[in-house]
Amino acid sequence: MTGFGVALKQAFSQINRNKMMTTASLFSITAILLVLGVFFLIVVNINNMAEGIKQDFDKIQVYLLDEVAPQQSEEMMAQIRGFSGVDTVSYLPREEALDQWKVKWGENADLLDRMPTNPLPNSIIIMVTNLDYANAIVEQVVPMEGIEQVNYSQDAVDKLLRITRIIQIVSLIIILALVAISILVVSNTIKLTVLAREREIVIMRYIGATNWFIRGPFLLEGIIIGAIAAVIGSVAVGAIYYYVVGHFGMDLALFLPNGFVPFDFMVANLLIIFLSLGICVGACGSIISMRRFLER
């Protein structure tokens, strides 16, 4: 048998001999991964949302006064096209605007039908090449004649970006703390198997086994625990996400431009992240727990 085969056999027999502790640490790590996973779901969705909202801000909507004639609006559009940072300029008649709202509201569209008159004005839609130009364009548009209101807010974008940044930093800190905790949990489990086999390890050292030969089975044990926890965690978080998307997906789509991040994409990424994390945590945990038994 190869060295790896021997180590693998040893690792499984250790797990088998130590079922209680292995199960305990498996559950601890799975629980931690669960919390991590929920954070991950939230952060990714918030990012996605922020991205969507930002896209909305590529658009400046200029509401026109009712008395503005089509020809006058054509002139205004031509003028706007000359501003720097403008991508496209288009005219949105009030009827079309209402239709868009109906599509957006979906099954609630009949609420709009009950309105006596169309409350929406005609408008000019300006698409911006880059968000940075938006403020300058707005400043140039506002003094023009025949304008009721310009719909654009740099403040909102800034605020949104700031909030998402804070959420990202906070969750990163929480994620790191949870990773540290799970390394501790694994290292404690492995310390128990190390202690149970201390005699064997001492004999191995005396006879001249290399550190890696001694460490191998314990390393694999940690990796196996981490990997199993990763799979369980992914399934659990996946189930949670499936439920949330299924129950609230439609409601959320109403006021979020992008809706939820698709389930498949999320779970595939989650599995990859959990597996690498679980394996790293398991490996680190076992190396830490073995340190004092080996040659420095």
């Binding site: 064997e200 001492v202 004999i203 050292r205 005396y206 006879i207 086994a209």
Partner: protein, 258 residues
């Protein structure tokens, strides 16, 4: 270590199993382990290390195995200085030595065969080599009939033979035996001594730590006595001096910790 130094040491110690302690000092905090020890053990020698518990016998042996680091001095062996070994070279160093402990240190869940094979598995020898050599060595120490038994199923004398089989499995240049007869009745102890003598006659340097006056006196080999960390006597064909032993009965305290 510089290449030039290595060369000069090689010429000085061209014989493999030779060991030379040079001004070795090891303290544990304020307590002395060994103090300024100088000794040369020739290749193929049989040497008894005697002295009261806590006198430094254990430290002496651990330094040779590089289980602990010396504070001062060097130990020349096999063309290198043991005290300067890097962690990567320590396993190879230990493989050139065989170790027998007082309490046998067999793994209870492995059979006699597996216990001995373990020594070769650890150093990743091919399976075929292991299968060929283990029966030979078990035969040599006289426990071939018990190969399939577990340690608790055989006598302690046999267990010690198995431990010796494991120690010589990888054909060591030096065999270190830490009180190998400490837990045995006199008759069984003698059988073990005959075995060690036989191994020594095949050219292996044997370093044996012991408390047994009878054995030391009867074997008439080189005797090195340690007291308070210092070598106090070194005689060829020496006898055990009662005044160097302050305890009436052998104690396991001086054994390597397991």
């Amino acid at each position: 270590m510089l290449l030039s130094e290595m060369r000069s040491e090689r010429t000085e110690n061209e014989r493999d199993g030779m060991i030379e302690y040079k001004n070795i000092t090891k303290r544990y905090g304020k307590n002395i382990g060994v103090e300024d020890v100088n000794i040369r053990i020739e290749d193929g020698e049989f040497i008894f290390l005697v002295g009261p518990s806590g006198s430094g016998k254990s430290t002496f042996v651990k330094l040779l195995l590089k289980l602990i680091d010396a504070d001062k001095g060097g130990i020349l062996y096999n063309g290198y200085d043991v005290t300067k070994l890097t962690p990567r070279k320590i396993p190879g160093h230990r493989r050139s030595m065989g170790i027998v402990f007082q309490d046998f240190s067999l793994l209870p869940k492995k059979t006699i065969y597996e216990n001995v094979a373990f020594a070769m598995e650890i150093i990743q020898r091919p399976k075929r080599t292991i299968e060929r050599q283990v029966p030979q060595v078990l035969e040599l120490v006289g426990v071939a009939d018990s190969a399939r038994k577990y340690p608790h199923e055989i006598s302690i004398g046999e267990q010690q033979r198995v431990a010796i089989a494991r120690a010589i499995m990888n054909n060591p240049k030096v065999l270190i035996a830490d009180e190998p007869t400490g837990n045995l009745d006199p008759e069984t102890g003698w059988e073990i001594m005959r075995l060690l003598d036989q191994i020594n006659r095949r050219g292996t340097t044997v370093l044996m730590v012991t408390h047994s006056r009878e054995i030391v006196n009867a074997m008439s080999k080189r005797v090195v006595a340690i007291k308070d960390g210092r070598l106090v006597r070194d005689e060829l064909g020496g006898f055990y001096h009662p005044e160097e032993d302050d305890e009436p009965a052998p104690s396991p305290e001086g054994a390597l910790p397991l």
